[in-house]
C-alpha cells in the first residue's frame, strides 16, 4: 500500500514537460516521517544570546557539551536529525532497539535509542533528551580526539543559530514568536537571505545548477560538498571534473568519487561562488526519508560568511563580515 502512495505521489508531483529533475512529493516525505518521531527537546537558559566557542577537527565543528555526567567533544551536525551518542562512551546506557519496520529494503535496523536525563551546552540545559546510540569509532579514529557524539538539528530548533568559522564561534539567539531575536540586536548587515525547509529534521534548500532545479541538504557534518552522481547532463556542465578515484567503503562497497569545482549554483537571488565538490553515489542521501536530494552542502558553503539558521522564520542568512578595529 505504501508503495502505491509513493507511486501516486511521485507521478502526480512530476512535471510532465520542461523539467529535468524528477521531484518526489513532499506528501510522501510526510508519510515516512511518521515512522520515527523524536520530540524536540526544550532548551532552558537565562541569556537571550549564548556564545559557544568551538575548535575544528579537520572541518568538523567540535563543541563542548555535557551529557549527564560526561563532558567532552560533540560534533555540530546539522545533517543529524537529533542527538546521537557514540556507543563506546555511552555503552552503559539502557537502550531500546528500534525496529525500523518497512524500511525500503524491508530490513530491521539495529539502531539503539536511549533517553538522556540532561544535556548541557554552554548555559543551555535540556531535560529528557531522546538520543540514538551508534558506533562512531571511525569518526573518532580519524579525528584523533575523543568524540562523544553528534549534536543534531532538533536541539537548535527554537533558536537562531549563527555559525562563524573564522571566529570559531557559535551563537544561539533566543527568538520571539515571529522569529526576531529577543536581544533585538542586529548589528550586522544581511548579505543574502534564503528560505529553507525541514523534512524529518533535515535542512533543505532549493536552488539550481545551470538552471536545473536542485535540492540541497545543508550539513555542517559534511567537510566537503557532495553532489549525487546521477544528475542530468545539463546540470553536470556546471561541474568541472578534475580527477576520479575508486574507494572501498563500508562493507567493501566500491565507491566512485569524482573531484571537481561546481559553478553556476543559484539559490533564489544568491549566486553561490564556485565551490569544490565531490561527486559520488549518494545512496543513502538521495533517497533519505524518500525525498530526492541532489547534493549536500557543507563546510565550503557554510563558511562563505558567518551564517544564521533561524528555525522560526525558516530563513538562512549570510552576514557581512564585521571588520574588527
Amino acid at each position: 500500500m505504501r508503495w502505491l502512495f509513493l507511486l501516486l505521489g511521485t507521478v502526480l508531483s512530476w512535471p510532465v514537460f520542461g523539467q529535468t529533475v524528477p521531484d518526489t512529493s513532499h506528501a510522501v516525505a510526510v508519510m515516512w516521517a511518521n515512522e520515527r518521531q523524536v520530540d524536540d527537546p526544550i532548551p532552558q537558559c537565562q541569556s537571550d544570546e549564548i556564545t559557544l566557542p568551538f575548535t575544528l577537527a579537520g572541518r568538523l565543528i567540535l563543541l563542548e557539551a555535557r551529557v549527564d555526567t560526561l563532558v567532552g567533544n560533540f560534533i555540530l551536525d546539522t545533517g543529524a536529525p537529533f542527538l546521537v551518542l557514540n556507543k563506546s562512551w555511552f555503552r552503559k546506557y539502557g537502550t531500546t532497539a528500534i525496529a525500523q519496520a518497512g524500511g525500503i529494503t524491508g530490513g530491521i535496523s539495529d539502531v539503539m535509542s536511549t533517553m538522556v536525563r540532561e544535556v548541557q551546552l554552554g548555559e543551555v540545559i535540556y531535560n529528557q533528551v531522546e538520543a540514538d546510540v551508534i558506533e562512531l569509532n571511525h569518526l573518532e579514529n580519524s579525528r584523533g580526539v575523543p568524540i562523544f557524539g553528534l549534536l543534531g538539528l532538533n536541539l537548535f530548533k527554537s533558536f537562531e543559530i549563527r555559525i562563524d568559522y573564522d571566529k570559531q564561534q557559535i551563537k544561539l539567539f533566543r527568538l520571539d514568536k515571529k522569529g526576531k531575536r529577543l536581544t533585538g540586536q542586529y548589528p550586522e548587515k544581511a548579505l543574502e537571505e534564503l528560505p529553507f525547509y525541514l523534512s524529518n529534521n533535515t535542512l533543505l534548500v532549493d536552488g539550481t545548477l545551470v538552471d536545473v532545479p536542485m535540492r540541497f541538504c545543508l550539513d555542517s557534518g559534511a567537510e566537503v560538498n557532495v553532489l549525487h552522481n546521477r544528475l542530468p547532463k545539463k546540470a553536470m556542465t556546471g561541474v568541472l571534473i578534475n580527477s576520479r578515484s575508486i574507494l572501498t567503503g563500508t562493507g567493501n562497497r566500491r565507491i566512485e568519487v569524482l573531484r571537481g569545482t561546481m559553478t553556476g549554483v543559484h539559490m533564489h537571488k544568491f549566486k553561490v561562488p564556485p565551490m569544490p565538490v565531490l561527486i559520488t553515489h549518494l545512496g543513502n542521501m538521495s533517497r533519505a526519508y524518500n525525498l530526492r536530494i541532489d547534493g549536500m552542502l557543507g563546510y565550503d558553503f557554510l563558511s562563505i560568511a558567518p551564517v544564521s539558521i533561524n528555525f522560526v522564520t525558516n530563513k538562512l542568512t549570510f552576514w557581512e563580515v564585521a571588520v574588527t578595529p
Binding site: 507511486l7 529535468t20 524528477p22 520515527r36 556564545t51 559557544l52 577537527a57 568538523l60 537529533f82 546521537v84 556507543k87 563506546s88 562512551w89 552503559k92 528500534i98 525500523q100 525500503i104 529494503t105 535496523s109 539495529d110 539502531v111 535509542s113 554552554g122 540514538d132 551508534i134 558506533e135 569509532n137 573518532e140 580519524s142 579525528r143 584523533g144 575523543p146 553528534l150 564561534q169 557534518g221 567537510e223 557532495v226 552522481n229 546521477r230 542530468p232 547532463k233 545539463k234 553536470m236 571534473i241 576520479r244 578515484s245 575508486i246 574507494l247 572501498t248 567503503g249 565507491i255 568519487v257 573531484r259 569544490p276 565531490l278 559520488t280 545512496g283 543513502n284 538521495s286 533519505a288
Partner: protein, 499 residues
C-alpha cells in the same frame, strides 16, 4: 509491486534525461563525466604516452585499457565485457567511450537504508571522502606539540613559573568580560571548563605543565584570543594563531668570560645556528634558560666569534669534523648491564634507539660483565646485544618481542600505562596486542603476578585499541569498560592517553 515501480522510475528517468542530453553539447568535452543515464569518457586522440598515463591515473581508467584502444582502434574484449562501448559518432579529435547506467544504479530499492540518527552518508564513507579531498582530520602537533628546544618570547611575561610544575597564566584587562577561560594543548583544548579567576586588573589561572612545548589561547566571553603579551605564535591550522609557551628544564651558564660582548649557545638541537640563542648577562656572567628535549645533545658557546666548551661540564667529545663539543643529557640514564661473557672480546649494544647500528655503542667491561649507560626519552624500544658478532637477547629482561631467534628484548622507559589482567592464574601465556604494536600477535608478553598478569608499557598520547591473548584466545580487557566495535563484531578495548 516494488520491482514494477523501479522499472517505471528508471524508464521515466532515462527518458527525461535523454531529452535533456540532446540539448547540450560542448566543444571541449570533459574527460570523464557521469550522468543519470550513462558514464562518458572522452580521450583526445592526439595525446602523448605520458599524458595518456597521467589521464589514466588521474581518472582511474585502468579498466578501459586505453593503450589497446590506441593500438587497435577498438576496445579490448575485457573492457567491452565490463559494459563499455566505443561511440562511433564521436568527433575526429576524441574517442568517446560510453557505459550505460545499469538499472540497479538508478534503482531506489538497491540503495542503502538510512538508519534514524545516522548521517545520510555513513561516517566511514565520509571519512574516506574527506581524506580524498585532502582534509586532514587530525593534526597531532596541535594536541601534542613537540619541539627539540625552545625559548619564550614575551612582551611582558604573562606566564610565570611558580615553582615545581606550576605556572601562573595571566591576562591583563578584559575587566568587563563575564567569563574568561584558558584552553590549550595541556587541557585537550577544553572550551570553558578551565575558567580563569578574576583578579585586580585582569584574569589568572594556575596550570601544571610538564617541561616542553605548550599551545594555548584565551576564551573571553566565547571569543578566542591569542595571548596579547606573547610574541611566540603558531598558525592554528585555520585562520588564526595559537600562543606558544615552553616550560623550561635546562639552564646553560657561562661565567668564564663575564666581560665578553656577546655569548651565544649553539648546539646539535638547533642545527648549530650561531646567532639564534643569545645568553643574557647576569651578575656573575652569562645564562640562558630554555626547554631542551630528552636525549643527548652536543653544544658549544660562541663568545665574540670564538668557540668555547662548557667549563662547567666535563663531558666532551670530538665529532667527526674535528670539533670538540660539550655533551649534556636530559632525562634518565638507563644502565644496560650484561652479566657474564667475560671471555668476549667486544660487546655492542644495538637497538631501535640507535637505528640498529651494530658498531656505535661499544659496552665497557665491568667486574661481572659489561655495562653501557645511555639516556633515552620515554618510549618503547627493542634491543639486543652483539657479542663477538653473535646476537643475544638480554638474558636479564623477561619482556621480549617475537620468537627466538628473532626475539628482541623490549625496554619500556617511563611507562605510563599498566596492562593488567586479573585472575587467569592457570593460563600459561598472556599477551597484549593492539594498535600500538600493529596488532602483532606474539610480541608483548605479560608477566605473572600474585593475582594475575601485568605489563608496564609506554603509550604515545592519543587513542589506542587492544586485546589480550590468553593461551591463544583473544579477549577484551575485562577491567576496562571502554571498548568499541570492530570488523569481527568482537570489540576492542580502548585507552586514551593524555599528555
Amino acid at each position: 509491486m516494488r520491482r514494477q515501480l523501479t522499472i517505471w522510475l528508471s524508464m521515466l528517468l532515462g527518458f527525461v534525461y535523454q531529452a535533456e542530453a540532446q540539448k547540450t553539447d560542448k566543444t571541449v568535452p570533459p574527460v570523464y563525466a557521469c550522468y543519470a543515464e550513462e558514464t562518458v569518457v572522452h580521450i583526445p586522440k592526439k595525446v602523448s604516452t605520458t599524458e595518456l598515463d597521467s589521464l589514466v591515473s588521474l581518472f582511474s581508467l585502468q579498466e578501459l585499457r586505453l593503450t589497446y584502444l590506441f593500438t587497435n582502434g577498438q576496445l579490448h574484449d575485457s573492457t567491452k565485457q565490463a559494459g563499455w562501448k566505443l561511440d562511433q559518432t564521436a568527433t575526429k579529435q576524441y574517442y568517446k567511450i560510453v557505459k550505460p547506467s545499469t538499472a540497479q544504479e538508478n534503482d531506489f530499492s538497491a540503495w542503502f537504508p538510512t538508519k534514524p540518527g545516522e548521517p545520510l552518508i555513513p561516517w566511514e564513507d565520509r571519512m574516506l571522502i574527506s581524506e580524498l579531498a585532502g582534509i586532514h582530520g587530525f593534526d597531532p602537533t596541535y594536541f601534542y606539540p613537540t619541539a627539540r628546544y625552545g625559548i619564550n618570547k614575551f612582551k611582558k611575561a604573562s606566564v610565570k613559573h611558580l615553582g615545581g610544575n606550576a605556572y601562573l597564566f595571566t591576562l591583563q584587562g578584559y575587566e568587563h568580560a563575564h567569563e574568561v577561560a584558558i584552553s590549550g594543548s595541556f587541557n585537550g583544548w577544553s572550551k570553558g571548563q578551565h575558567a580563569m579567576k578574576r583578579v585586580a586588573g585582569g584574569w589568572e589561572f594556575i596550570q601544571t605543565l610538564a617541561p616542553g612545548k605548550h599551545l594555548y589561547k584565551f576564551i573571553v566571553d566565547g571569543m578566542w584570543i591569542a595571548d596579547p603579551q606573547n610574541d611566540l605564535r603558531e598558525k592554528d591550522g585555520y585562520k588564526s594563531f595559537n600562543s606558544v609557551f615552553f616550560a623550561y628544564n635546562k639552564d646553560f651558564i657561562f661565567n668564564a668570560l663575564p666581560n665578553a660582548n656577546k655569548v651565544f649557545l649553539i648546539g646539535s638541537f638547533n642545527d648549530w645556528r650561531e646567532q639564534e640563542l643569545p645568553l643574557e648577562k647576569t651578575k656573575e656572567g652569562w645564562k640562558i634558560s630554555m626547554y631542551l628535549a630528552e636525549g643527548t645533545h652536543a653544544y658549544r658557546f660562541k663568545v665574540d666569534k670564538k668557540y668555547y666548551l662548557d667549563p662547567e661540564n666535563r663531558v666532551s667529545l670530538t665529532d667527526g669534523e674535528g670539533f670538540e663539543n660539550s655533551y649534556t643529557s636530559i632525562g634518565d640514564t638507563m644502565l644496560f648491564k650484561l652479566a657474564g661473557f667475560a671471555d668476549a672480546a667486544e660487546v655492542f649494544l644495538v637497538g631501535s634507539f640507535n637505528g640498529w647500528n651494530e658498531h656505535e655503542l661499544r659496552m665497557k667491561k665491568s667486574r661481572d660483565g659489561w655495562v653501557m649507560p645511555y639516556v633515552l626519552a620515554p618510549g618503547v624500544y627493542e634491543y639486543k646485544y652483539r657479542i663477538d658478532g653473535r646476537w643475544v637477547a638480554d638474558p636479564a629482561n623477561p619482556t621480549v618481542a617475537g620468537e627466538a631467534p628473532y626475539d628482541n628484548s623490549v625496554l619500556v622507559v617511563k611507562p605510563n600505562h599498566l596492562f593488567k589482567l586479573e585472575g587467569f592464574s592457570d593460563a600459561k601465556n598472556v599477551l597484549v596486542s593492539g594498535s600500538f604494536n600493529n596488532w602483532n600477535e606474539s610480541s608483548l608478553k605479560l608477566q605473572k603476578t600474585t593475582n594475575g598478569w601485568e605489563l608496564p608499557y609506554y603509550l604515545a598520547p592519543g587513542k589506542h585499541t587492544y586485546k589480550f591473548i590468553v593461551d591463544g584466545v583473544w579477549q577484551k580487557d575485562p577491567g576496562n569498560k571502554l571498548w568499541e566495535q570492530n570488523e569481527f563484531d568482537t570489540g576492542n578495548s580502548v585507552i586514551w592517553i593524555t599528555p
